[in-house]
Each structure stands twice: as C-alpha cells, then as structure tokens.
Symmetry: C2
Subunit: 240 residues, 2 copies
C-alpha cells in the first residue's frame, strides 16, 4: 500500500513580490512527513482568480489532498474561498454556521461584524469548517482541498486541528550521517548505495562550518531496518 | 509596455520533506521586483525527471523567464541538467568549456576531478554558462530557462552574475502604511481605493506586536506619483 499524496498551494502577491517569506510550506512538509503523507509538489500563485482556479483544479486532481494557505481574510484581495469554490463549479456565499462563529467572536470583543468581516463567512455549501482557535474566522475542507489562513500562527493552529481528520500512511523514517568529505568524494558510494536500496531516498547536502567542509547524508524510507542498514554500510566506508 | 514575466522552479526532495527551508524564492522575488520583472508563479518539485520536465515545459512556455534552483551537484540525485535539456528535446553531456572550469578549480586545490565531479560539467549544447564564483561548477541558461544551484550562497552569487544579462522592466515601487486598526476596519476603504486605482496592487497584512494589533498596508505600482497619492488618501482616512 502506498502512502497518500499531497500538494500545497501558497496564495498571495506578497510571497511573489518578496515582501513576505513563506514559512507554511516548511511547516506543512514536516507535519505531513511525520504522518506518512507524501508532499509531492507545491505551487505559489498570486491573488488572481484564474490562477487560483487553475492551480486548485490541477493539484486536487493529481493528489489525494491539497492544502492551501492565504487569501481568506476580510479585504478585497482575499479571494481564495470563491476561487476554490469555482474550481468545483460552486459558489461561496455567507454561510450561517460561519457567520454565527464570527458574530460570537466579535460580539464578545465589542467589535462590529461589518460587511468586510462577513466576507470571512463565505464558505461553499458542502464544505466542512476548519476551526481557527486564534482569530475565529474558519477555514474549510471542500472535497480534497483544505483551505487555511496565510498568517503562520493561524495556519499552524488550523492544521493542528485538521490533521487528525486525515488518514495518514506509513511514516517515513530518516537518519543522517555527517561525513567530512566533499560531495564529489562520496557521490560514487551514494550512487551504489541508492542502486542497492531502491526503497530508500538518499540525499546529500554539502556544508561548510567553522572552516570544515563536508557532506550531510540523509537516508529516508519506510523500513527502519533498511534505513539503519544503509547507514551502517555507508559509515563503514567513511569512518570518522 | 508591460514588464517581462517570470516563474521559479525549486527542485529538491529536501524542500518537500521539510528537511530544508527554501530561501531562494524570497531572494529571487526581491531581486526581480527591483528590476521590474514580474514573478508570477513558483513551483516546488522533487528530484524526479518527469516532474522536472513537465514543470520546465509548462513554466518556460507561460513566462518570459524561468529560474530554477537545485539539483546540479555531483550526486546521483542531481538530475536537473539532463531534465531541463530533455524538456527541450536535448541531451546534457559533459561539455569541454565546463570541464575546463572544473579541471582548473580542482587542480588548484589538489582534488581529483573524478566521474562524480564531472557530472557537474553536463551542459546542453547551445546553453550559455552561468558563472559560479563560490565553487566553480557553472549553471546555465538554455532558451529562457536559467539553471542555478540550490545552496543559497551559490544561488545568490549566480543570480548576481546572471541578472545584468536579462532586460528588466519598469521597477515596481512600493510604499507602506501602518494603521493601528483591524483588517476588518480598513477593508472597505481599501476596496474603494483599489477600485479607484486599478493600476495599483494594494495588499493588507495584519500584525500583532507588543500587544498592539493593526494592519500594514502595502501599495505597489509602476507610477510613483499614483502610489504616493493613494497613500495620502488612505492616511487621511486613518490619521495616526
């Protein structure tokens, strides 16, 4: 049985202009790796209806799950909810359950639930709400697309609530080995090792720190004994 | 005249597993913004031949330029050069000019130019080399695709050499305004402002720091006077 596959779609002009550095991809990648869900692809698009619709259709069709971040706030450029709905031929009007969550949140704070804030209650029919314990305005899951906020602490809180609902796979185990040799010196051994272990993913990452250069080797796979065996073979060839 | 458009393709299992946090996208985005080149889209794919070929074909056809990072080192999983070549129906064999660069670099250091290191001289015919002042192994430009290393300090050095060769557009100017009001309180004014200035991109980014919540407004456009005028209109509505 193979693991579920996933893609991520990061939505926002601010990422593509360089104003904001995305951190949600790295967080999602780590969380999915822990749960045995293979993140296969990610895309970043602007706050543009057609770009979002196109990416949602392509990525949701190609993978078991699509996670999105960004574009679900109260302002004119927050167009993710209607665009995701449109990708499935639906609309995203203000939904009563989402409105009730926002009404309770703002009433408790003496803040008006104005027309702009009501935009955050636009949820497609049939979608399941994703809880937002930080600022109330919910995300949603529509078909296999999970729509979350772009602000990292909200994205992370939404994801923490969502992930237990999503079946995982066999977690990928990872071990690493630090070798104080250049990548070019270990490459042939890695190539032989990779050929002998087609079930493992073997990556190499050169480093230089405190004047010492070398290569960090990362061996990943679902079979812990095989990961361990590969590391032992490799470290025998490059004793510290 | 509209600005040139660009896309980025980040290549590497380590980004999708969460082991490594990409920083090249943010660097590229800032550099392109300064030069009036519009970064419209970015994708992240694994070290997988078909995934790279598919993304290179789609993105290079849709944009004036495609910048890639990652997968040009000496190890078995460094497959970017042949994959980019294959996207254009070409091959990437060891090329004499690239081999000479590597030979000089390693000879000066008393290091063997072995078969693994020679992989870094695989350059498609017709491609223009991109200088690597950090570790010698060159990148290359093939058609409108610019292939660079994934290690950030090498990516940044390659990009610094490459960008002067690429015609820019009208730089996008940006001004920002800090408003100590929630996004929901400024959203209507922003919507009106955006409708009155279709040539501007207006973004809003909520913040909370030292117990103060508010919204940073970023107004971007090629016409500096219009950017300034929009900021003045907005600040009049939300005096500090």
């Amino acid at each position: 049985m193979t693991n579920p596959t996933a893609a991520m779609l990061v939505i926002g002009d601010e990422i593509l202009s360089g104003r904001t550095r995305d951190s949600n991809l790295n967080h999602l990648a780590k969380e999915l790796t822990l749960r045995g869900i293979d993140l296969c692809e990610a895309r970043v698009v602007a706050d543009d209806h057609d770009a979002i619709v196109g990416a949602v259709r392509a990525l949701s069709a190609a993978h078991d799950h699509l996670f999105t971040s960004g574009g679900i706030g109260p302002t004119h450029d927050d167009i993710t909810a209607p665009a995701v709905a449109a990708a499935f031929g639906l609309e995203a009007g203000v939904r009563d359950d989402a409105r009730a969550i926002l009404a309770a949140h703002y009433e408790a704070r003496g803040v008006e639930l104005n027309a702009a804030r009501l935009r955050m209650a636009r949820i497609p029919e049939g979608a399941t709400l994703i809880d937002n314990p930080v600022s109330a305005a919910p995300g949603f899951s529509l078909e296999n697309v999970h729509v979350m906020a772009g602000v990292p602490r909200i994205f992370e809180a939404m994801l923490a609530g969502l992930l237990p609902r999503i079946p995982g796979g066999k977690p990928v185990l990872s071990q690493s080995l630090r070798i104080e040799r250049g990548e070019g010196d270990v490459a042939e051994a890695l190539s032989t090792l990779a050929a002998a272990h087609p079930g493992l993913a073997i990556g190499s990452y050169p480093f230089t720190e405190n004047g010492v250069s070398g290569t960090n080797i990362v061996v990943r796979g679902a079979d812990g004994a095989e990961v361990e065996a590969a590391l032992v073979e490799l470290s025998a060839q490059f004793p510290a």
